[in-house]
Symmetry: C2
Subunit: 230 residues, 2 copies
DNA sequence: CGAGCGATTGAAAAGACTCAACCACCGTGG
DNA sequence: CCACGGTGGTTGAGTCTTTTCAATCGCTCG
C-alpha cells in the first residue's frame, strides 16, 4: 500500500527522477519544478487522461504503472505502452497541439505529479538539455513503434506474446508481471481466450509459471528465440 | 520523366519547401541551407538509407515518393509510411543517436536533396521555429502510429485496406495510386494474394477501379465507412 | 454467503495464409 | 518486327491460426 499523504514528495528527493528526463535539471529549475508541480495519489484503474480531450499538462510518475492505450472501433483497448516510475507522459499531444490520441490509466495504485502546460513548455524552451532529451525520447519511441507495427503485422500471436513478455519483464523488473488477462491480451493484440490458451502452452513448455494472475518468466532464452530476437 | 540535371534546384525556388518544415526559415538561413545541401536524382527502387546503418544527414524530398519500411524476420517489408514531396526524412535516428530502425527507398524516380548532420543539427539548435516544427512533427507521427498499431491489431485486412487506400489517396492527390501489389500488401500488412482478392472485391463493389497496376478510388464514402471513419 | 468479475475451457466458424500454377504485360535482343 | 524471358499480377485449393460464442469455474470483496 502506498502512502496516500505524499504531498511531501519533492522533486529534489524523488527517487524516480534520476532515471527520468529531469535528471539533469539545475538546482534552480528543480526548485521551480517542485513548486510548479502538484502530486496526487491514484487508485488502481484511474484515468490520467482520455483520448479526445485536450492536454493541460504532463504527468510525472513517481510510483506506479500506467497503461497507455487507444480504443478501437469495437471499444477494445489496444495498449501501446506501459509506463513506469520515472517516466513523463502526456506531452506528445501538447507538442502536436491536438487532442490526445491515446488514453492513460493506472494499472496499480500510483503516485503521480502533474506539471502544468505553461511551466513545462517554458522549461523546454529555456533548457537545452531537457529539450534535447525530449526530442531524443520522441525519436526513440518512434523507432520502437515502427518495430511494434511490424510485429503486429507479421508475427503470430504466439511470437507477439513472447515479445510482450520480454518487454514486460523489463518493465516489472524484480516484481512479477501483474496484469489482468484482458490487459495482457490488449497489449499483445489478441482475444483474451487466445491469450489464456497460449499462456497455458508456455506453462506446459516450462517457459513461464503463473501464480493466479501473476506471471513469472522461467526460461528467458526460449522467449528470446520465440520472439525472434535470437 | 524528371529532369536529371537538377543540380540547379535551389531551396529558394523549391516548390516543395512551402509545404515543408523549412517553410518559415529566414532568408539568411535559407541561403545557408542551399549551400549546405546537395541534390541528386534517384531512380525507382533506389535506397536512401538502410536499417542498421548510421545516419549522416537528412533527406529532403523535392520530387517523388519514398517508402519507409522495416524488415520482418522473414525478410518481408512492412511499410510504415510513404513520404512525398516536401517531407524531410531520416532525422529520427539522428536525434535518438541510434542506427536507423527503418529503411527508405524510392517508389518512383525522385529528386532528393541531402543535408549533412552537422548543418541540420545546428539549424535545429539555433532556429526555434524549425525546432518546434520538428518536435511537433515527431509528436504528430507518434500519435498516428498509435492509431496504426491499433488498426493492425484490431481491424480485419479488409478494413485495413480501406484505411490504407484513404491514406494513399491523400498522398497521391490528383494522381492515381501507383504501387506494386506487393508494396500495397506490405503497407496493409497482409499477403499479396489476399490483397489482390480484396482489391477484386472492392472493384466488384464499385469502390475502386484498377487500371493495370494503378488504383483509382470511385466511392470514397464507402471506403470511409469500411475503414470505420464514419 | 452470495454476487460478480476475471479466468478458463470447448467447439465451431471464419479469416487469412501458403503453395502451386498460370497469365499478362513489357522491354530486350535477334 | 517478333520471339523470348522475366517480373509482377491473378486464381484456386487446402490448411492453419485465431476468433467467436457459450458455458463453467473460482476467487475476492462486501
Amino acid at each position: 500500500m502506498l502512502d496516500k499523504s505524499h504531498k511531501n514528495v519533492t522533486c529534489d528527493t524523488c527517487g524516480a527522477r534520476r532515471f527520468s528526463l529531469f535528471n539533469n535539471v539545475s538546482e534552480v529549475e528543480l526548485n521551480g519544478l517542485d513548486h510548479a508541480k502538484s502530486c496526487s495519489y491514484y487508485k488502481k484503474n484511474q484515468a490520467l487522461f482520455v483520448e479526445g480531450s485536450y492536454p493541460r499538462g504532463v504527468f510525472c510518475i513517481n510510483q506506479g504503472k500506467i497503461k497507455v492505450f487507444t480504443l478501437g472501433d469495437e471499444g477494445k483497448e489496444q495498449i501501446i505502452h506501459i509506463a513506469k516510475q520515472g517516466e513523463i507522459i502526456g506531452f506528445r499531444s501538447m507538442f502536436s497541439e491536438e487532442p490526445y490520441k491515446v488514453s492513460a490509466s493506472t494499472l496499480e495504485e500510483s503516485n503521480i505529479c502533474f506539471i502544468g502546460r505553461d511551466e513545462f513548455l517554458n522549461m523546454i524552451d529555456t533548457n537545452q538539455t531537457l529539450r534535447n532529451g525530449i526530442i531524443k525520447e520522441l525519436s526513440k519511441e518512434l523507432g520502437e513503434r515502427a518495430l511494434f507495427i511490424t510485429n503486429m503485422a507479421q508475427k503470430s500471436v504466439r511470437e507477439r506474446l513472447a515479445f510482450a513478455l520480454l518487454i514486460l519483464d523489463e518493465i516489472y523488473g524484480d516484481e512479477q508481471i501483474n496484469l489482468t488477462r484482458e490487459d495482457l491480451a490488449n497489449f499483445v493484440g489478441t482475444a483474451t481466450e487466445t491469450l489464456i490458451r497460449l499462456l497455458r502452452d508456455f506453462k506446459d513448455e516450462g517457459i513461464i509459471e503463473t501464480h493466479t494472475r501473476k506471471v513469472q518468466i522461467i526460461n528467458k532464452d526460449k522467449l528470446l528465440i520465440l520472439a525472434g530476437k535470437k
